[in-house]
Symmetry: C2
Subunit: 545 residues, 2 copies
């Protein structure tokens, strides 16, 4: 049996666009003689439309889209995902469903049983879990049709009290098909692959896994759809961060040649690809072309500049240098050098005069008060206001250049360097920023060496260095990883061998800055615990332990 | 039996503070001869600690706090709420539990069955639902101990497939006790009361309902704990927006005198009380004393000024007038008049010079471009930067003064008038803002009449009026209510009798401004669908229907 795996980049709520992509894949699959084509989870609307699902008018459009697919199922089976009204008198209004369309009819509906509700997932907010289990009959074979999380309870931690596959096995399925909307994180891709292999082995069944690809604002979907044989060997692996329509030949009795796959988790190059896709999709899907960013002469903005040029092209990136009286000559030269290397346009807009005018205006209130962080914030906010003005005037989008270490400890000014429509590297610790820059420079120097080697400084007062107020980044980042990603408490982190006073200070800084992050730009998510919708902390609380 | 209902204002994660309040109530209840005292849901830590619940160290502190309560249960029964480890091999790690403590021991643990996961609620993110049902024996009576949502499935829509009370009834309970963390909204208080009455009637049992009170950033808990007799009459009703320890006499065979309660839903005075509590708790719980706000001469900032003075006292509020060349003389005079009436200090800081300096600095990029909304945003952002600078210098918190109508259609400048630590009236439509001002003025004129009667204007260009670009507020607010609160689609709203072009324009404005609201300040929630954590829309999507 020839089966097409359609790994598509959907746009949330773009019913016409999504339908067009799906129907083109169906045509291609038919031409190639496929008997079945498989799309990913909630394919008609894209995964996941969040509270759009609360609108009856949205659900109606999903149903309409499914209706449009039905006539295309002459001479081919179509598996597609769609939210549907449960029509129950009790429970949530919707199911997260997969449909088999065949011979111009809906042949079967399968609802999702296990509803991820943690981190960035909110499925129980919308969906009623399934509790009836039937294999899907298709062309003489029996398919165990499952939806994403349905296969995940086989691994620790077991968040649910059963595995849907255990309920399906008594009906003797021939193959597992899983349609998925599984986001990327740098420690997730390999885990996912292993989990699919584990399912194939445990149930002794071949498995086809179809994921979506593309970015929905902060969430990056990596694709990487799979065909795994009953021994758990990966036979086919689709592209990462790219659309692909792959036709596989499945024969129940055939022996397959296992593919050699490489564990690329933690690979900084893969993270870079993820970020580039994130930038590109954010602009394409929101209908914008051009980005601007503020270039400080530091490594963070240099990296964002390089990534933006890779994603959008040099002609679509405008860098703005906003030197103050504390900016070193080196910072300006390094920034200009960078733009020469990346090839994008830049402007130099000194902030001296607006900062002076703001300070003078504030004299009436500030008299008798010594200079403090307020004046540093004035510089950062003047830059923010100037960058936003250029955005407004030219119709560009401002890219934010903060990294995760800074966001974590609040080493950023709200409405200043925290401005921007999208935070590109806000889920990368400073040490990862360095690693990515070194990796980008491997073939040729894009990020000027000066920028890579100088000591990090905000340059908001004379001779300021990050290390004046923060622990060294290699220590800081490890503490942050334990506190944020690993959700360890202060005492637990100290037990791991870190200095108590340092841990106390860092944890306190993280907690004290929840209020800032609440108003931060959406952040491209590359870890399993990014700031944003996946981490929901109270803003007013007593945190310290 | 004498029973104490302890309606307390908890601080999330303040274990010592919460324990102190609880133990003081226990002492008082003992002195008054109570046999039982009842605290609200998750009382040891406050409802709801969100992702703090993911930290083992936090759960340990909850357990420790419960341990500290146990010895206080000599000569009194204590019902308290606490998250506990489920210790199951499968399912979520935690239960949302209620404990009966007695004779220095944990006598019984009851877990929550129905886990609200919609709007602002995320309980299935953390908790495993209960599925074993036992009444709690106490001093010869049998208590049907339930937790908040457990009683709610009796009403439409039935979000769950059973009612925990139906499982408990075969054990013949004598009384229902419900511990709750139920937030206020102006159309929720009466619904809640009726629901408790309905439960009492349906099950033929008296009911004690204990809610928490106080604000957790955006969420306002109104208290209003209840004692309802088996006929569904409200016998006792505790204070709204205030802590209270009320002792009731319950006798199984006694007939009670029904209390005459008044339906205050939709009452603008009650909404005002809610907002005042919200401001007060935000400052008290975050350890700040003083607020500043920008006074434009318009009605929104005037209202926030009045509310801030009521909540914090006139001496803790600093109003800042930031006139531009487009500000009318009336705006300044009206603002000064307002501050004279509210009694708080004010400063006048003209923004002319910084705006000119910013414009001049931008000349290098803006040459050849006509003036547009960019220059209007520059004014709004100059005000934001100046207000934030004063905050930083003086250690105050900036109150945001945007209303819900503006936030909805994006009639606000990101990093400009959208600045602030807390949005006070961001869940009030403009028409509600007027209504509240008129109500405040009932006994004496606090909001100058001029402010109430002039046509709304942003004063960002000459002779600008809100009505130039927006439908009249009475029309706009109704469309917004249907789209946001009632989740109606465009076609449905048109069917209700609104002009199609207007509806299309308004819906499009709401959708196009999701990106702005994503970075907005937390907003005191007074409706059942406020912007913020209760409304989660995709930022990059195709919205229009």
């Amino acid at each position: 049996m020839k089966i097409a795996l359609a790994q598509i980049n959907y746009t949330i709520g773009d019913f016409d666009g999504n339908f067009r992509k799906m129907s083109e894949c169906i045509v291609t699959a038919k031409i190639q003689g496929c008997q079945l084509i498989i799309f990913s989870e909630l394919s008609v609307c894209g995964y996941i439309p969040s509270d759009m699902l609360n609108y009856d008018s949205f659900i109606k459009k999903c149903h309409d889209s499914l209706e449009r697919l039905i006539p295309l199922s002459q001479n081919i089976g179509i598996i597609a995902g769609c939210p549907v009204l449960s029509r129950l008198l009790e429970g949530k209004m919707l199911y997260n469903a997969a449909f088999l369309l065949q011979d111009g009819q809906i042949k079967q509906q399968v609802n999702k049983s296990l509803l991820p509700t943690y981190d960035i997932f909110d499925e129980y907010r919308y969906f009623e879990p399934n509790n009836s289990f039937n294999v899907v009959a298709f062309e003489g074979i029996k398919i165990a049709l499952t939806i994403c999380e349905d296969l995940w309870n086989i691994a620790e931690p077991r968040l649910y009290d059963f595995c849907p596959m255990d309920r399906l096995m008594p009906q003797h399925p021939d193959i597992i098909i899983n349609i998925s909307g599984s986001p990327y994180s740098y420690n997730h891709t390999e885990e996912r692959k292993q989990l699919m292999q584990q399912n194939a082995k445990v149930y002794g069944l071949p498995l086809i896994y179809v994921n979506q690809v593309g970015a929905h604002t902060d969430l990056l979907f990596d694709g990487g759809s799979l065909f795994v044989d009953r021994e758990g060997n990966v036979i086919e692996e689709l592209a990462y961060f790219k659309e692909e329509l792959r036709v596989i030949e499945w024969d129940m009795n055939r022996e397959y040649q296992a593919l050699q796959t490489i564990n690329k988790d933690d690979d900084i190059e893969v993270i870079r690809e993820a970020l580039v896709m994130g930038i590109r999709d954010y602009f394409q899907k929101s209908g914008f072309k051009k980005a601007i960013l503020g270039l400080s002469g530091g490594i963070d903005s240099a990296l964002v500049n390089a990534l933006a040029v890779e994603a959008l092209g040099a002609k679509n990136v405008l860098s703005v240098l906003l030197p103050s009286k504390f900016s070193s000559k080196g910072s300006i030269e390094d920034s200009v050098d960078l733009c020469r290397k990346t090839g994008n346009d830049y402007k130099i807009i000194p902030i001296l005069e607006p900062v002076e005018a703001l300070e003078k205006t504030l004299d009436v209130v500030f008299t008798d008060h010594p200079r403090d962080v307020t004046e540093e914030n004035l510089q950062a906010r003047s830059r923010g206001i100037l960058l936003m003005a250029i955005c407004n005037k030219l119709g560009h989008i401002l890219l934010n250049t903060s990294n995760k270490s800074e966001s974590a400890v609040g080493y950023a000014t709200l409405y200043g360097d925290m401005c921007g429509g999208l935070s590109v590297i806000g889920d990368l610790y400073k040490t990862q920023v360095y690693e990515m820059c070194r990796s980008i420079n491997k073939t040729r120097e894009i990020i000027p060496l000066n920028i890579l080697t100088k000591a990090p400084s905000a340059e908001l007062r004379p001779n300021q260095l990050d290390s004046d107020s923060l622990p060294p980044y290699d220590v800081l980042d490890k503490i942050l990883l334990h506190y944020i990603e690993n959700q360890k408490g202060r005492a637990e982190i100290v037990e791991l061998g870190f200095d108590e006073a340092t841990v106390r200070k860092v944890v306190r800084m993280v907690d004290n800055n929840e209020y800032k992050r609440f108003q931060a730009a959406p952040t491209l998510r590359i870890s399993h615990k990014a700031f944003g919708q996946g981490r929901r902390m109270p803003l007013v609380a007593k945190y310290y332990d």
